[in-house]
Amino acid sequence: MAPARSTRVNLPPFQQLLDRHAGEVYRFLAASVGPVDAEDAFQETFLSALRAYPSLRHSSNLRAWVFQIAHRKALDVHRARARNPVPVETVPEQVAAAAGAGEPALWRAVRRLPDKQRTAVFLRFAADLDYAQIGQALECSEPAARQNVRAGLATIRKGWARA
């Protein structure tokens, strides 16, 4: 059993977080790291959340909190890939498979963005978070979140125009 909590926060049953956010967290992860790594990242995201849950000091914005964890797990995957690069000829297939319903080349372009911009774009368009929630997930201000999305989209647009 978890130690007795202070009575200050009333956290809802963890199952409720899972029911409400499992689908969108998975969509975000699949877009961000591809479906193969998304499976593990999804498990790690919710296991981390479950470990930390009883000591959480607030019960507002649980959605942004879960996405903050998902974002960190996605970063781990991207960093691990940077350390152990996949041979270049296998990348296009992997990315194409990863994209699922999305436009593969476009998703690939998003994945090449810097960390914050990439996450902000995926949170906005794969998980449908608003800018305030993106700010909470990325631990930055709402205007900064908006700026990251805008900058990310501008970079993609430039690359797209060249292509």
């Binding site: 059993m1 978890a2 909590r5 009333n10 956290l11 809802p12 049953p13 963890f14 199952q15 409720q16 899972l18 499992a22 689908g23 998975y26 499976e39 999804f42 498990q43 919710f46 296991l47 479950l50 470990r51 849950y53 009883p54």
Partner: protein, 191 residues
């Protein structure tokens, strides 16, 4: 997604991260919510109590790590099934009394748990067995707050004189359980 979430819950259980596991189970007295901690069965609630509110209460009073993990409830669900088929007269699942606050209430419920299948006792009987013959009303309150009805058979406690008294699951459910245990073919409660 279902498989993904099941796998997650399996891993959470393996890591000891599920403090309260729950499941729903259909019975002749309606759909029951059953919940267990690693110590044992902690809560049974009737359909009349909104299950969402019950889960919120479990999160608040025990731990917010409340997850739908039906495999942890397999034993109690099987025992309930056998009970309603008339084949089981005692429950063997371990109980967790965490939700029963005071010593008096706990004694009332432990005394109630000893009333044999098919028998009944009065509120006064359980009050005096719990150490205070005059605390009939408090015994009634303790029974009304029984967190583990059916398994802790508060339906076997009646008014002196045999009137049904009250029941958290509704009087029809109480009558149904008494008829079942008396070997009278119970009429399925309506609604």
């Amino acid at each position: 997604m279902h498989e993904r979430v099941s796998r997650l819950i399996g891993r959470a259980e393996a890591e000891g991260l599920v403090d309260v596991a729950y499941a729903e189970t259909d019975t002749p007295v309606g759909r029951l919510l059953v919940a267990a901690t690693p110590r044992g069965l902690v809560r049974v609630s009737f359909h009349g109590e909104a299950h969402e509110a019950v889960l919120g209460e479990l999160a608040e009073r025990l731990s917010p790590r409340v997850l739908e993990a039906p495999s942890r409830l397999d034993m109690v669900r099987r025992e309930l099934e056998e009970y309603f088929e008339g084949g089981r007269r005692e429950f063997d699942v371990p109980l967790d009394w965490s939700l029963t606050g005071s010593t008096f209430r706990r004694r009332v419920l432990e005394r109630t748990a000893k009333i044999p299948y098919g028998a009944t006792a009065s509120y006064r009987d359980v009050a005096s067995a719990a150490g205070n013959e005059r605390a009939v009303r408090a015994a009634g309150t303790a029974l009304g707050a029984n967190p583990i009805p059916i398994v802790v058979p508060c339906h076997r406690v009646l008014r002196s004189g045999g009137a049904l008294g009250g029941y958290g699951g509704g009087l029809e459910a109480k009558r149904f359980l008494l008829d079942l245990e008396a070997g009278r073919s119970p009429l399925a409660p309506t609604g």
